[in-house]
C-alpha cells in the first residue's frame, strides 16, 4: 500500500527539484550514474553490450558496464558468493541461473522488487511464461526478473540422419539404434564421430543428466512439499539409461569429463551426432565462423522412455538487483528494460536466447532467425524445475558428484542411490 505513495512522493519531489536544477547551472547537471552488471561468459556478454548501448543512447544519464565471470554457472556463483558475502557494493545487477533465486532470497542478497514495481507488480509478472513468473517469486516477493528462458533439447545432425533415412528419434531406444547405425556407416570417414553427449563432469549441468531420464518416466526427486521422494526403481532405470548407452558405445568413453560447452564445441567441429544441449548452441552452430555444421543441425524435444512423455530441465537466466548496490532505483529501471519483450526479441535474434514472453515466440523476425522456436515453446512451457530450496547448492553438489562417479564407473547404481538418500534426506525435508 505504501509503494504508490512513495512513487507519487518521488514524482512530486522530482517535479519540485527539476526547476531548481534548471535554474542553478546546466553544466552541473547530475553526474552520470554507472551501473555494473555481472554476467557469465556463456550468456553472450557481447549481445548484452549491444543491448546496453541501446539503453545508454535512450538514457544519457546512465552508463552500464558489463563484468564477465566464469564459464559455468557454478564458477559464476562461486565468485558472486565471495562478492556478496562481503557486501561489496561495486555490483549493481547480477545475471543468475534459474536455480538461484531461493538462495539469493534467503541470504538477502537480492533487493526485493515489489516496492519498485508498485501497483503494476501483478500485471508485470503476468506477462511472463508461468514457469519464469514462479521461479522469480520466492516467499511472495519478486526476487529477480527473467532475462531469457532455456531448456534442454535434442540437437541432431540433420544431414547424417537424412543420408541414412532415419527420422529424429522420439525415444531413447530409437536414439541408440540411430546412433549405432550412423556410427557404423560413418566411422571410417570420421573416426572422431561420437553418438550422443551430455554433461557428465561434476558441474551443474550433470544434475539434469540425472533428472531428465528420472522425469522422463514420470518420476520425481521431491514431492509437492519439497521433501525427498526418490523412487529407487525409477532412479535405477535413469542410471541404467546412461550405463546402457555407454555399453553400446553411443556416448564417449570420457563422458565423466564432459562439460556443457564442450558438447557444443564437439558438435560444432562435426564430431557429434546427437547432443542434449541448451538453446544457446543453435546460434553458435549457425553463425560461428569456425562452425563445420552450418545448416546441418536439427532441434527436437528430448527423447522419452517408450510410453512416457518427454521431460527436460528448465534453465534460463534472471536479473537480480544487488541489495548492496548504491543506485538501486536506477538499477531496477535498467533491469525492467532488460526484462522487456523488446529485449527478449533482440536476444532471440542475436543469440537464439529463448524468449520469456509467449508472444515473442510468434514474432515473424524471431521465427526467421530461429525456425525451431515454433516447436520450442511447448518444450519450455513443459520443462520442469530442479528442486527449489535455499540449500540448492548442497542438492546440486550431491547429485552431480554422485552422477560423475557413476558415469566414471567408480560408483555403482546402489552406491549412488545410497549417497542421494543419505545426503539429500536431511536437506530436502
Amino acid at each position: 500500500m505504501t509503494s504508490p505513495l512513495t512513487l507519487r512522493r518521488r514524482a512530486l519531489l522530482a517535479a519540485a527539484t527539476v526547476p531548481l536544477a534548471a535554474t542553478a547551472a546546466p553544466a552541473q547537471a547530475q553526474a552520470p550514474i554507472t551501473l555494473r552488471i555481472f554476467t557469465g561468459g556463456q550468456q553472450r556478454p557481447d549481445v548484452m553490450r549491444r543491448i546496453l548501448d541501446v539503453y545508454q543512447a535512450r538514457n544519457p544519464g546512465i552508463r552500464a558496464e558489463v563484468e564477465v565471470g566464469g564459464a559455468t554457472s557454478d564458477q559464476q556463483q562461486q565468485y558472486l558468493n565471495t562478492v556478496l558475502a562481503s557486501r561489496d557494493p561495486t555490483l549493481d545487477i547480477a545475471l543468475i541461473d534459474v536455480i538461484r533465486p531461493a538462495q539469493w532470497s534467503a541470504a538477502r542478497w537480492a533487493e526485493p522488487l515489489d516496492a519498485y514495481l508498485g501497483a503494476q507488480r501483478d500485471a508485470v509478472m503476468a506477462r511472463y511464461l508461468p514457469a519464469y513468473r514462479e521461479a522469480n517469486i520466492v516467499g511472495g516477493r519478486v526476487i529477480a526478473l527473467p532475462y531469457f528462458a532455456d531448456a534442454q533439447f535434442l540437437y541432431y545432425r540433420r544431414d547424417l540422419l537424412e543420408k541414412h533415412n532415419i527420422a529424429p528419434p522420439r525415444s531413447w531406444d530409437e536414439l541408440s539404434a540411430a546412433a549405432r547405425t550412423v556410427l557404423a556407416a560413418e566411422g571410417a570417414a570420421n573416426p572422431n564421430l561420437r553418438g550422443f553427449s551430455t554433461a557428465g563432469a561434476p558441474i551443474e549441468g550433470t544434475v539434469c543428466t540425472f533428472l531428465v531420464p528420472l522425469w522422463g518416466q514420470g518420476g520425481s526427486l521431491t514431492d509437492a512439499q519439497g521433501r525427498l521422494a526418490l523412487d529407487p526403481a525409477q532412479a535405477r532405470r535413469a542410471l541404467s539409461l546412461w550405463a546402457d548407452l555407454r555399453a553400446q558405445n553411443v556416448t564417449p568413453a570420457n563422458l565423466a569429463e564432459i562439460v556443457t560447452d564442450r558438447i557444443r564445441v564437439d558438435m560444432q567441429a562435426g564430431n557429434l551426432l546427437f547432443a542434449m544441449q541448451w538453446g544457446y548452441a543453435w546460434n553458435r552452430f549457425q553463425n560461428d565462423p569456425d562452425s563445420q555444421v552450418k545448416g546441418r543441425i536439427g532441434v527436437v524435444p528430448l527423447p522419452a522412455f517408450a510410453g512416457n512423455a518427454a521431460a527436460t530441465c528448465i534453465g534460463g537466466w534472471q536479473l537480480a538487483v544487488s541489495a548492496f548496490g548504491r543506485n538501486k532505483a536506477a538499477a531496477v529501471d535498467l533491469v525492467r528494460f532488460l526484462s522487456s519483450p523488446e529485449v527478449s526479441k533482440m536476444q532471440a535474434i542475436m543469440a537464439s536466447h529463448l524468449p520469456v514472453f509467449p508472444e515473442v515466440y510468434e514474432d515473424a523476425e524471431v521465427l526467421a532467425a530461429n525456425p525451431w522456436f515454433r516447436d520450442a515453446r511447448p518444450v519450455v512451457i513443459g520443462a520442469r524445475a530442479r528442486p527449489v530450496t535455499p540449500r540448492y547448492p548442497e542438492v546440486s553438489e550431491t547429485i552431480r558428484t554422485a552422477m560423475n562417479g557413476f558415469l566414471a564407473g567408480t560408483r555403482t547404481a546402489d552406491q549412488v542411490l545410497a549417497d542421494l538418500t543419505q545426503r539429500l534426506g536431511p536437506v530436502l525435508r
Binding site: N81, N192, P202, A256, R391, G405, A408
Partner: protein
Amino acid sequence: MTRLRIGPLERAERRLGLLLLLPAFALLAGVVLYPIATLLWTSTQQMHLAQPWLEGFVGLENYRRALEDDRFWSSMGNTALYVIITVPGAVVLGLALAMLANLPFRVKWPVRLGLLLPWALPLVFAGLIFRWFFEYEQGVVNAMLHAFGAEPLRWLSTPSLAFIATSLAIIWKSSSFVALVLLAGLQAIPASLYEAADVDGASFWQKFWRITLPMLIPALVVAMIFRTITAIQTFDIPYAMTGGGPGHATETLAMYVHRTTIDVLDFGYGSALAALMFLISLSVTSVYIGHIRRDEGTGG
C-alpha cells in the same frame, strides 16, 4: 651466574626497542592472529548463509560433525596420499635437478631457467596445462600411447589414473622449489672432500652415498618439511585438473573446505574443517621447529 643490574639508560633503550617492535607486532596481529581468531570463533557458530535464521553459537558441534563425516575422512585420506606420493617424488626429482644444475656447465642460464620456470608458474596454470596433456581425445599423453599402439586411457575420470596424473603435475611443479633449496646445500659442500675421494679412487655412487647425501641432510630435511606443509594444503592442481573427480576420488581437505564455504556457504562447518587442517599443518611445523632447535643445540 649473577644477573647484572640494568641501568636507567639500558631500561630506556629496552623500552624504545619494544616500541620499535610494535608496528611489526601490530601487522602480524592484523594479518595472522586476527584471521585465525576469527576462524576459530566462526567454527563454533552455526553460520550457513542459505539459512541465516538458524545462526548461533553451537560450541564444538561442527567438529563433532566433521569426525562423523565420511567425506572429511576421505578427503583426509586423499590429502595423506598426496603427501606420501608427492613429497618423496618431489625430493627425488628435485635432488636430481639440483645435481644437474650443480654440474660445471659453460652456459648456465638454460639450466637455471629450467629450474626456475616451473616454480614461477602459477599453480592453476600448471594444472590447466597438465589437464590438456592428459585430455582423453586431444591430449599428448594419449597421443603417445596411440603411437605405441596402445588404447587411450581415461586419465582424468579413472580414480587411480587421475591420482597419478595429478601427482605427476604436483611433483613437476614442486620439484623446482626443492631443487633450489638443495642446490644451495650442494654448493655449501667443500670441494676438497670430493678431491680427496678422487685421490682415493672413489666411484660416482660412492661419492654420492658417502659425501653428497650425508652433507645434504640438513637441506633435505628443510626441503621435505616445507614440501610436506604445502602438500597438506594441496588445492590448485587437482582443482584445475579434475575438480576433485571422478566422484570424490581426488578431493583434498583444502578442496572440501573450499566447497563447503564458497559453494555451499556453510561458513561455520567450513571454518571447523579449516581449523582441523590448520591443526595438522601446525603439528608438522612444530616438528620442523623442533628439528631446528635440536640442530642449534648440537651444532653450536
